[in-house]
Assembly symmetry: C2
Homo-oligomer: 360 residues x 2
């Protein structure tokens, strides 16, 4: 497939879109759609598999098997509002998020699809900017965007742009990560400050009176996770803390593993600006979305090794132990309990209602 695709690229100059905005013809399946796809996506994502413009991408299973013995498959749609925010945009989010969902199960992310739903009237230039962001993160993460789909809906029938990315990767031979694997004595680690993405979106929406200087933490975590797994292939649980925040991930670990997780509030890494914004608005940073933060549950004897590996990586410099795992014999398990800075205790429940819509 690749050879034929390369020939195709050479054979014909890529088409350019002359319209300033996307119209319904760009979603029709005809020539206008082909021009949009070639101009915006094929030229940005720059790989022969996509450039072939077949309806599928095809790969040799033997090449996949070089990375491990299990295929991982994950999907996410991105509807973030606004599309551009400090620290990223819907494109960086769409690639980072799906890469991270693959990486947290111990997979090497390899290929992504990209399906867009565009509102009629959306700027072609902004679409090019989003595609360029996607490709920048894809290169950083070492993945290729190999197949796609373009739909256009009438004005008022979608809010500017939605992106779905679906990813495939291959799980390393030596790992067995699951929300069910937390064991008494394990240590809970995060790779840095919590809530930056959620707070950045709040600021970008001007829902905050504060002019706080907060950037989204949106980034691919597969490099960090590879370093962590090299240091300790026996990591028990690993998940990126996106919608619902760290509290939701820890509750899922506690329930799935039937353990109690004890957090230490004083140990939570938080930026002053995020802490301030949360205090003013009555938000809890444990529930704020992150887009470049993970929660790991590791055996106690591996904790120092994992922390050292994390701190040596650009997106793990502020890694910290935030809690421990135990199993109560007398009482119920499945809970997350936090020792507060005032010396008290409180239960950190799952998010029940809605904190922030369209955060990702």
């Amino acid at each position: 497939m690749n050879d034929r695709a390369s020939t195709s690229i050479k054979a014909s100059a890529p088409h350019r879109v002359r319209d300033a905005t996307v119209n319904l013809a760009h979603g029709s399946g005809g020539r206008a759609m082909r021009d949009l796809i070639e101009d915006v996506f094929v030229s940005s994502f720059d790989n022969p598999t996509l450039a072939a413009l077949e309806d599928q991408a095809v790969f040799a299973l033997a090449d996949l098997a070089a990375h491990g013995d299990r295929l991982a498959f994950t999907t996410d749609s991105y509807v973030v509002d606004p599309l551009f925010f400090p620290g990223g945009d819907i494109g960086t989010l769409a690639v980072s998020g799906t890469v991270n969902d693959l990486a947290v199960c111990g997979a090497t992310p390899l290929y992504l699809s990209c399906a867009v739903v565009i509102e009629e009237g959306f700027s072609v230039d902004l679409l090019r900017r989003v595609a360029a962001s996607m490709q920048r993160v894809a290169l950083e993460a070492g993945v290729a965007i190999v197949t796609g789909d373009t739909k256009v809906v009438e004005r008022g029938c979608a809010d500017k742009l939605f992106i779905n990315t679906t990813g495939v990767g291959v799980v390393r031979h030596d790992v067995s990560i699951s929300a069910r694997n937390a064991r008494p004595g394990d240590v809970v680690i995060v790779n840095g400050c919590l809530g930056d993405h959620g707070a950045a979106i709040l600021v970008a929406r001007q829902q905050l009176a504060l002019e706080a200087d907060i950037e989204s933490d949106c980034c691919p975590l597969n490099g960090l996770i590879a370093a962590m797994l090299d240091a300790c292939p026996q990591i028990h649980c690993l998940r990126d803390a996106t919608r619902g925040g760290v509290a939701t991930v820890l509750n899922e670990f506690a329930q799935s593993s039937n353990v109690t997780i004890r957090l230490d509030e004083a140990a939570l890494p938080l930026r002053e600006q995020v802490k301030g914004a949360c205090e003013i608005l009555g938000l809890d940073p444990l529930y704020l979305a992150n887009e470049g933060k993970l929660v790991a549950v590791v055996p106690a004897d591996a904790a120092e090794r994992v922390l050292a590996a994390m701190r040596a990586h650009p997106v793990g410099r502020e890694a910290a132990v935030i809690g421990t795992v135990e199993r109560n014999e007398a009482e119920a398990n499945g809970l997350v309990v936090m020792r507060t800075v005032f010396g008290g205790q409180r239960i950190v429940d799952m998010l029940v209602g809605e904190q922030l819509p369209r955060i990702c």
Copy 2:
């Protein structure tokens, strides 16, 4: 993963959504979202991989290798309006469409993801109906919906419901299908009447004064295609004729293979109702969308064998030869030319503008 998932299903009764409509909390990443996913998707799609509610589905590469040596990967978003139409709904479309995109490259479709973007206020019951339709077609096609994502946007920010399905399958060892493989002397075959889906959507939108009784042809084609490939593994080109219709597919074949395709208008299988509707509205059935129709280019000596295999299959009974492939030595190739019923000739170009928005 499967074992653990089964345990999980037994361990806790599935949560039910008591709300009649979807609200923003159902997309928040918290408990309300989990309840919606368990009620609507996990219970409909009924498989242990999805039920585990991990962020990824994981499969042994060895199991995939039993089907062939190449992985196929394809994505499509569905934004059809209206959601329910004669012959199907957005759910039947979302599964059939992606199954067909895998099958036309010679792949056995295996696993699908399902990512929904829901407008706040959408009926939970209608969502259950759509999920049930998806599962019905998935069972018919022999695929499992193994991973998903749920986003909810504010009222007015999406039109009711959009679905992305992304699929993985494994390509049979013995096939080599590509738009570049059409050869002079080959025969062009379709599996039945053209334009039914496009015409059914027009009628459902009441954009037609006619009260025509037209049903969408929406269905999975992987069974038919397997029968065709069993009869002739050397099928040269194969594609489902969705947006842009048969005309667009044939133009892509003609350009990619640098050949001229000659159609015979009298041979085009068309329902009287579709023909009538097209005449009244000035539409060309060659550009109308299909969701259960394919175009195959096969070596002449295999045509009878392929036709016989198709006619023996429920969705190929009306299969017909509609044209032939040639290569002009003197003039340009890459064109589709039709012999009209009046004895003239006309060029069947690619769709340039927009015929029908939101057809799929």
